[in-house]
């Protein structure tokens, strides 16, 4: 168990030693986002921009324009939300080599409540041309994703979480931008999941097996560009898709998969996520249960979709 943000801090500091052009920026949350690990090792290459996200994004764009590889971090709601237009204009439009690594995505932010829980960031980042959107499932995938983002030339949005999450991938997992990953094979339906919901889907598939339901699990680590091939194959072979994400069902992974399948392979579908509402205060485990973001919900939805299929 490791939080994706911790894996990020560790990897960014490693990358800092490998590539002197890597710089980091934060908006007064370096202890939480873990850019503080990098800051400690490379103080000259770390810029705390204070509580001013718009300027942080523009500054990162400027640094990129003179050859630096800036990683900027703050909570997802402030990165994607507050600085959306700066990301669009100063980063994505010029295709600047800026990496926006947003932590504290989704409702697992917990006690801080709905004001701080970003449930829209995947949707609004995905809507921007030139943008790559990555949501790792665990610490190991985060390490690969951060390395892939650093190696890729262009804007990347990576969404990370606050809490420790179970491991899904083995050490040394190779992350490739745009490639999904089939974790469990199955024939009756496919769970298409991202972020912390992938671990829940693996648990759900195991439980369903005992009931005679064969569930496939496809993890989508890159929401954009989407791994169309893997998704179309799953739709054709299993005939039922359940998406799951710690995000609004509007415009996120569920939206992206629905867009693809409705045009290229209309398939029975169900989106598990947050249903067009804001988050609320509570302990993160309580909130996951409250919003139905767990294996139990996935098992129930699987039973139902298999019945609908018949």
């Amino acid at each position: 168990m490791i939080a994706t943000r911790d894996a990020y801090g560790e990897t960014l500091a490693e990358l800092g030693a490998e590539n002197e052009n890597i710089v980091a920026l934060d908006a007064d949350l370096s202890g939480s986002t873990k850019t503080g690990v990098f800051a400690k090792k490379f103080p000259q290459r770390f810029f705390n921009m204070g509580i001013a996200e718009a300027n942080m994004v523009g500054t990162a764009a400027g640094l990129a324009s003179v050859g630096k590889v800036p990683f900027l971090s703050t909570f997802a709601i402030f990165a994607a939300g507050r600085a959306w237009e700066q990301i669009r204009q100063s980063v994505a439009y010029p295709k600047a080599n800026v990496k926006v690594v947003a932590t504290h995505g989704g409702v697992t932010v917990g006690e801080d409540g709905g004001s701080h829980q970003s449930v829209e960031d995947i949707a609004i980042m995905r809507a921007i041309p030139n943008m790559t959107v990555i949501v790792p499932a665990d610490g190991e995938e985060t390490k690969g994703a951060i390395r892939a983002a650093a190696a890729y030339k262009g804007p990347v949005y990576v969404r990370l979480g606050r809490n420790k999450v179970p491991s899904v991938f083995a050490a040394g997992h190779q992350f490739v931008i745009g490639k999904g990953c089939q974790l469990v094979d199955g024939t009756d339906l496919t769970f298409v999941t991202t972020g912390l919901m992938t671990a829940q889907a693996v648990i759900a598939a195991e439980r369903l097996k005992a009931e005679g339901i064969s569930a496939r699990v496809v993890h989508i680590g890159t929401i954009k560009p989407l791994d169309k091939e893997l998704l179309l194959q799953a739709a054709e072979e299993t005939g039922a898709i359940i998406t799951a994400e710690e995000h609004s069902v509007v415009g996120g992974l569920g939206g992206a998969v629905a867009e693809l399948l409705s045009e290229e392979c209309p398939t029975l579908m169900k989106r598990v996520g947050i249903h067009d509402r804001f988050g609320t205060s509570g302990k993160s485990e309580e909130l996951l249960k409250y919003f139905g973001l767990n294996a139990e919900t996935l098992v129930e939805e699987a039973r139902e979709i298999v019945t609908r299929k018949k």
Binding site: F47, N55, G58, V66
Partner: protein, 274 residues
């Protein structure tokens, strides 16, 4: 020096002619703010900045950010005059397929380093460039031109705070204070107050000049380069539409181009009789 100033003044006159012709041809774009900023842009491109039109990405170049991106015609005529692209391209301003977009686009126009146009974002980018260049121990300087109306954007002051905090003395902001914005006088629409005092209070070195006095512009740019430990803001009092009395001090010409009737008179004002 006197000759150099006269040369720059003549260059600025020719650039004004090119702005008017380009905007007349496109029938879309921003006349007033292009004409108010052109003297400063002229001094930067033909006197102060180190740059190489034959090699736009030359590592040793100073950087320029047109934060008030709607004055793109002023930048484009300077780039064409310097030789970044043929001056015929100016007649394709804002056309489908042209590399001269409505607002500066680094992906398309040689010599343009960043995309600007959404107001308030350029100073942040300029300071990012300044920080990066300093990190590498490079002597290159960064210049950003902002409008006075643009100062209503809060991000400008976030950037002003950061540039002073990081002592970005390789950064120089030029404020084209033409006192007008689309809806009218800046003072009436949303009073920015004393621009010089504001930058000073953020810790900037501030120089106040007449933005159409070439000698004053050149001296201010030299003084900015010599100043250490803080970024410099050159607050330039300018006239919107400067050089063509038809357009001078008229908010209406913020985003309106010279029409067929106005063109001969406009060119005559600029001493152009061809």
């Amino acid at each position: 020096m006197k000759e150099k100033i006269a040369e720059l003044e003549e260059k600025a006159r020719r650039l004004r002619v090119a702005i008017v012709k380009s905007l007349h041809k496109s029938q879309s774009g921003h006349t007033g703010g292009s004409l108010s900023a052109i003297d400063m842009i002229c001094a930067l491109y033909f006197h102060k900045m180190r740059h190489n039109p034959q090699e736009p990405a030359w590592d040793g170049r100073d950087r320029f950010v047109l934060s008030k991106g709607h004055a793109a015609p002023a930048l484009y005529v300077a780039l064409a005059e310097a030789g970044y692209f043929p001056s015929e391209d100016l007649m394709m301003l804002r056309r489908l397929g042209s590399h001269l977009q409505g607002h500066p686009d680094s992906k398309q126009t040689p010599g343009v380093d960043v995309c600007t146009g959404s107001l308030g974002q350029g100073l942040s980018m300029a300071n990012g460039m300044a920080l990066g260049l300093k990190l590498d121990g490079k002597p290159n300087r960064v210049y950003a031109v902002l409008g006075d109306g643009e100062l209503q954007e809060g991000q400008v002051w976030e950037a002003a705070m950061a540039a002073a905090h990081y002592k970005s003395d390789n950064l120089c902001a030029l404020i084209d204070a033409n006192r007008l914005q689309i809806d009218g006088f800046v003072e009436k629409v949303m009073n920015v107050g004393s621009i010089a005092e504001k930058f000073r209070s953020f810790g900037w070195n501030v120089i106040e000049i007449d933005g159409h006095d070439m000698r004053a512009i050149v001296d201010a740019l030299d003084a900015a380069e010599a100043h250490q430990g803080a970024p410099t803001a050159i607050v330039a009092a300018t006239v919107k539409g400067k050089g063509v009395h038809l357009f001078e001090n008229k908010a209406a010409y913020h985003g309106v181009t010279p029409n067929d009737q106005e063109l001969p008179e406009a060119l005559k004002c600029l001493g152009c009789f061809d």
